[in-house]
Amino acid sequence: MLDLLRRAQSLAALSGILLLAILISPRAADGSRIFLQPGNLTDILRQISLIGIIALAMTFVILTGGIDLSVGSLLALSTTLTAMALTRAWPHAYYTSHILGAILAAVAVSTLAGALNGAIVSALRIQPFIVTLASMIGVRGLAKWLSSNENIDIGFGRDLAAEFAAVFREKAIVIGSYACAAALFWILLARTVFGRHVRAIGDNEKAAQYAGLPIRRTKIWVYSLSGLLSGFAGVLYAAENHQGNPNAGVAYELDAIAAVVIGGTPLTGGKGSISGTIMGTLIMGVLTNMLRLNNVDSNVEMMIKAVIIVLAVAVQRGRNSIS
């Protein structure tokens, strides 16, 4: 019942913004609303996909009462590694296996980095904010060092790297990846033992210890998943931008955290949902699109987003104090 109400509220907020976007949408030459054009709607979905994917795992991290500031840097590392593997490594490999190898290598490295975050958080009992702040700095440094601080261009020719980019920047592939990841993480949280453990640890870690739950293992997995999804988002980033950019993903962690928080997961953890995070991501995406269609200055856009974040959390607080 309460859960239904929570979902309904996120949904109501999203509907409100959608309605507003439709109402104030500029019109095309034929009189139709530009916002509602299929091309625009799918553009929104593609634009939110990277942050959306990262926010899915961020939800798990925040549910355990943690935070992962390193996701933007992990994305940069992964995007750099993808581009390097495609353009510089394995010159004699076959097309498909070369592409798959590049993706796997990039994702594996960022997953391992995430696992290291989790291991340090749980074994040394250092606050996740500090640990991931350190790795946000360190991993960014690694990405820049590996690429000598230069963009690695993938190009638009007919070579392997360009083929990769052509496939993985397809709207269907990008949006489909987000949809699949969302479905998987939804099931993971709602239906599995792992998901139950994640919520229990976030709600009361001491009680979780007394109940004999595998706290360390769960946390390492949670941060690994965060690394994995950031790495995957990095692969998509490389394709979309035709380059591996060690300076990519700056402040992505903040957008992802904002989406999670707007979706109703408090930073103290313990309660929240994937559906909420998806709503939060969509709210931010539609808002951005609406403002840009109406030629609102991007700096003003940031100010409006700031208000939305505070408003969303204020509404949630009000609701909680009633119950």
Binding site: V193, R199, N204, A207, Y210, A211, G212, L213
Partner: protein, 510 residues
Amino acid sequence: MTAPLLEARDIGKHFGGVAALRRAHFSLLTGEVRALIGENGAGKSTLAKILAGSVKPDSGRILIDGQPAPISSPLDAQRLGIGIIYQELDLFPNLTVGENIVIGNLRYPESRLVNFQRIDDFCRPFLEQAGLRCGARRMAGSLSIGEMQLLAIARALSMNARVILMDEPTSSLFDDAAERLFGLIRELKGRGVSIVYVSHRMDEIFRISDRATVLRDGETVATVEVGATDAAEIIRLMVGRNLNIAARPYRRPLGEVVLEAQGLTTGKLRDVSFELHRSEVLGVAGLVGSGRTELGRALFGLDRIRGGAVHFQGRPIKPASPRDAIRSGIGLVPEDRRLEGLMMHMSVTENSTLAVLARIAKRGFIRRRLEISGLGPMVRQLALDCPSLASPVETLSGGNQQKVLLARWLLLDPDVFFLDDPTRGIDVGAKQDIYRIIDGLAAAGKGVILVSSELPELLRCSDRILVLSNGRLTAVYDAKEATQETIMASATNFGTSSRQPGPLTGKDAS
């Protein structure tokens, strides 16, 4: 007599859709000790919080000395001379004793800089009055729970309180600290301070209070002269029915030894040895700080075992974590259910099955039908009263929360149960249910170690009673022969006496 010092009329308060108070009446005379009693959820804590200004009532009026006195904040209450001592003591552990007294205190003249000398001077008389023998510069967090309570009283006194509300002040005290508190209450009464005493414990009410106000379902049922009534009458008023205090159950013969500790030594425990048999309830008595909780921590892998050995069914074990201990077959129901036991935002079902998810899952996926169907018999066995199995446990009463926590361990079904004060702060009816569960565990061949602050409870439930004092085992009694006096004597025997511990094994004792 004159107009009442404090009067509350028709107080109503809702939390969400739930009525905590409907039409509560309350009036208090100067220098009176008044017990405020009722089952959990009856509204006594809410009423106390309203009088102290930390909760705002929806309706009703409060009068002081016959004059309307709107109380809408703790500061208002302080101005009107009402002090409160919360069950969860609201102290700042990282500030000094003195700072705790002067912070937010209207009587302490404000200054921009902290002047410890002035704080010392201000606090000294009140610390003396409260009987807290410690310097004002000691950190509050280093005090024992009993001392913290005295500090809270000193704080109320320093605010010149004419009324002090105490919300279950003895729920975490052992009898000696409670004894000191009672002495202090008598002294305060002698000086004309009125005390409102919220409690579950019948014996205390008869010892210290003049009158008792009984609440039931948010309404005032009656206010009775304690001298002219008895416990059965008050219990009848509380529950609205006659409740027979269950007789001591039939004791069954003990089974084999399931758990054995030899010379167990940790940071707190010194050389503790005992045997626990199947079908046995082994009571553990001791003052707070005696090592009774630490005994559980050692067996459950939370404290490092520095010396001695623990055998489980003859095999030596050395649990390094609760996970380890659970695998060996030991379960522990912790003392503080909110802090160490329950996930307050999660549902009754999720809390109950948390430790046995592996059993009801297939390839990592929780089989939800199996999860819920497995819980049905448990809910009936525990007489669990909740709106729905999907309700978050934070919405349940203390007694029902405790039952959910017990359900978790009953489902896990270990061979040894360590129950650390399982009836702390819960109502009479739920206590009886928990005694029944403990009897049932023994009947099912489990070994049960029961820690309790209430001696009658230990005498009611146990086969044998271990007494700990200052980390050492000072006596072992057969529960049939022990009395509250003999147990108290052993519990306060601080290592100076040369008295030998009693017989150590069940066979010798029986």
